[in-house]
C-alpha cells in the first residue's frame, strides 16, 4: 500500500545544499573505510562537500577507485586504497600511504561492513567471522591506528562509526549483523571516554534504511516502493542525509559532542517496520489506537 496522500512526509534539502560551508573541513583529510560505494561513499561525499581530502579504503580496489572518481568530481583530492580492515599491518600500511598522498589523517569514518539476510542456524563459522570481524575488529583496529597517530602528533580528531537502527532491538534473520553493529555502538562510548583527554571525539550514527545500489533489503520484487509505508516517517532515507549527519558530528559545529549514538531511522526501530505490515497511525486504525479493541 502506498503512503496515503493526506499523510505529511518530512523531507530534507537536496544533495547540493549541505548543512555546512564548503570549507568546514578545509586542510583536513578523512579516511573512510568501505568508502567506495553505498553508505561509505555517502559519508565520503559529505566530507568532500565540506572540503576534506578523502582517502577511500576498500577491499576491492576497483570499487574504491570508482568511488574516488565520484568524490574527486566534487572538487577535492581523493585517493583509493585496497585494504582488509581485519589486518592490523595492512591498516597501518594504508594509513602510511594515505598520509603520504594526502597528509595527516585527522578524521575517520568507520563504515566497512558486510551484511546479508540469513537464518541463524544457517550462518557458517566463516560467514559469522566475516560479518562480525569486519565491523567489530575493523572498527577497533582502524580507530586505534588513528588514535595512536593523533596522540603521537599531540592533536585531536574525530571518528564517526556507521552503526544501525536495530542495535537495541535485535534483528531476527540477521544475527551476525545484529551482534556486530551493537558492538560498534557500545565501543563508541568507551573509545570516546578513553580518548577524551586527547581531544579525539567518537560518535556513531544508528542508521535506518538508506537504499543504495548494494543494499540487500531493496532487492525484492517491486524494489523499495513497498517499504515506504512500513516506516513511520513515510519513506526510506535519502543516502545524503546519512552522509551529512555523519560528517556533521565531526565538524566544530558539534565540537563538544562525543560518545553519542544518534538514531537516524525515520522511527523505524520504534516499530520494527521491515517485519511488520504497513504503518497506520493510531488515529486512523479502524479498531482504535491499539488496533484490536
Amino acid at each position: 500500500m502506498p503512503v496515503p496522500q493526506h499523510h505529511i512526509v518530512a523531507t530534507p534539502p537536496p544533495f547540493d545544499e549541505p548543512p555546512y560551508p564548503a570549507d568546514i573541513f578545509a586542510g583536513q583529510t578523512v579516511l573512510v573505510t568501505g568508502g567506495g560505494s553505498g553508505m561509505g561513499l555517502a559519508m565520503a561525499k559529505a566530507f568532500a562537500q565540506g572540503g576534506a581530502q578523502v582517502a577511500v579504503m576498500g577491499r576491492s580496489m576497483e570499487r574504491a577507485e570508482e568511488g574516488v572518481a565520484q568524490i574527486a568530481a566534487l572538487g577535492v583530492r581523493a585517493h583509493a586504497m585496497s585494504c582488509d580492515v581485519r589486518q592490523p599491518e595492512a591498516i597501518a600500511a594504508a594509513f602510511d600511504e594515505a598520509e603520504r598522498e594526502l597528509g595527516p589523517i585527522g578524521l575517520l569514518a568507520n563504515n566497512a561492513g558486510a551484511n546479508f539476510p540469513i537464518l541463524a542456524e544457517d550462518i557458517s563459522p566463516n560467514a559469522w567471522n566475516a560479518v562480525t570481524r569486519i565491523a567489530i575488529d575493523g572498527t577497533f583496529l582502524c580507530s586505534t591506528e588513528f588514535a595512536r597517530r593523533r596522540i603521537a602528533r599531540g592533536e585531536g580528531g574525530a571518528i564517526v562509526n556507521n552503526s544501525a537502527q536495530y542495535i537495541w532491538t535485535g534483528f531476527p534473520g540477521d544475527a551476525h549483523s545484529a551482534a556486530a553493529k551493537t558492538a560498534q555502538a557500545t565501543m563508541t562510548k568507551k573509545l570516546a571516554a578513553d580518548w577524551a583527554p586527547h581531544g579525539i571525539r567518537v560518535n556513531a550514527i544508528a542508521a535506518g534504511f538508506f537504499p543504495h545500489d548494494t543494499s540487500t533489503a531493496g532487492r525484492r520484487e517491486g524494489g523499495i516502493a513497498p517499504l515506504q509505508n512500513m516506516i513511520p516517517a513515510g519513506r526510506t532515507g535519502n543516502i545524503w542525509e546519512f552522509g551529512w549527519l555523519s560528517a556533521m558530528t565531526c565538524t566544530p559545529l558539534f565540537g563538544d559532542m562525543t560518545g553519542q549514538v544518534i538514531v537516524q531511522d525515520g522511527g523505524e526501530s520504534l516499530r520494527r517496520s521491515l517485519m511488520m505490515p504497513d504503518f497506520v497511525p493510531p488515529r486512523e486504525r479502524a479498531d482504535g489506537p491499539w488496533g484490536w479493541q
Binding site: 503512503v3 499523510h7 523531507t11 548543512p19 555546512y20 565540537g255 559532542m257 497511525p281
Partner: protein
C-alpha cells in the same frame, strides 16, 4: 552555513541562550505565542536532593516541569500543526536522566519514552519529536538543537541523545 531555518517560526519555552541564538542565526523567527513551525521546551534543572529529603511538592514541581508541561505543550503544538496541515518539529531539552535526583530520573526517563512514542504516533502528521538530555549549555547544544528542528534532520524522529560523556 546560516539558513537551516529560513522562513520557520520557532517558539522557545524555557531559558537557553545558546539555543535561542543558534535558532535565530539559522534564520528562524522567534515568536512568543501563536502559530509556529517549531516548539522547543527547555526544562530548568531541579536542585539535587536525596530522594528521602524531597517533599511531595518538590517532587511534583519537577515532574510538572520535566514531564507534564512538556506533554501538554507538545499536544497543543501538534494540534496547531494538524490544523494548518503542515508538519512541525518538537525538541525537548533538559538534564540527563541520572544527573540529578530521583525526580529528574523519573521525569527524564518518562520523557525519553514519550519522545519515542510521540515521534511515531505523529510521524504521518509530519511532526518530528526528539530530545537532548545534557548538562552542556554551549554552542554544540545550540547547533544540535538547530539541526534537529531543521529539515536537515527530516529522518531523525523519536531520538534521544546527549552531548558529552557525562550525559
Amino acid at each position: 552555513m546560516s539558513g537551516w531555518l529560513n522562513g520557520k517560526r520557532a517558539r522557545i519555552e524555557g531559558e537557553c541562550p545558546a539555543i535561542a541564538s543558534a535558532l535565530a542565526a539559522q534564520g528562524a523567527s522567534l515568536v512568543d505565542a501563536g502559530d509556529c513551525d517549531i516548539w522547543v521546551h527547555i526544562a530548568p534543572p531541579p536542585p539535587i536532593k536525596l530522594a528521602h529529603e524531597l517533599t511531595h511538592a518538590e517532587w511534583r514541581d519537577s515532574l510538572d516541569a520535566g514531564l507534564d508541561r512538556r506533554f501538554l505543550g507538545a499536544k497543543d503544538f501538534a494540534g496547531q500543526c494538524r490544523a494548518r496541515g503542515t508538519g512541525g518539529a518538537i525538541l525537548f531539552v533538559g538534564a540527563p536522566e541520572q544527573a540529578l535526583g530521583a525526580d529528574q530520573a523519573a521525569a527524564a526517563g518518562a520523557l525519553g519514552n514519550l519522545t519515542k512514542t510521540l515521534g511515531v504516533e505523529w510521524a504521518r502528521d509530519g511532526i518530528r519529536v526528539n530530545s537532548v538530555l545534557t548538562r552542556d549549555a554551549g554552542d554544540t547544544l545550540g547547533n544540535l538543537a538547530a539541526y534537529l528542528v531543521s529539515d536537515y534532520a527530516a529522518y531523525v524522529t523519536g531520538a534521544v541523545m546527549g552531548i558529552d560523556l557525562d550525559d
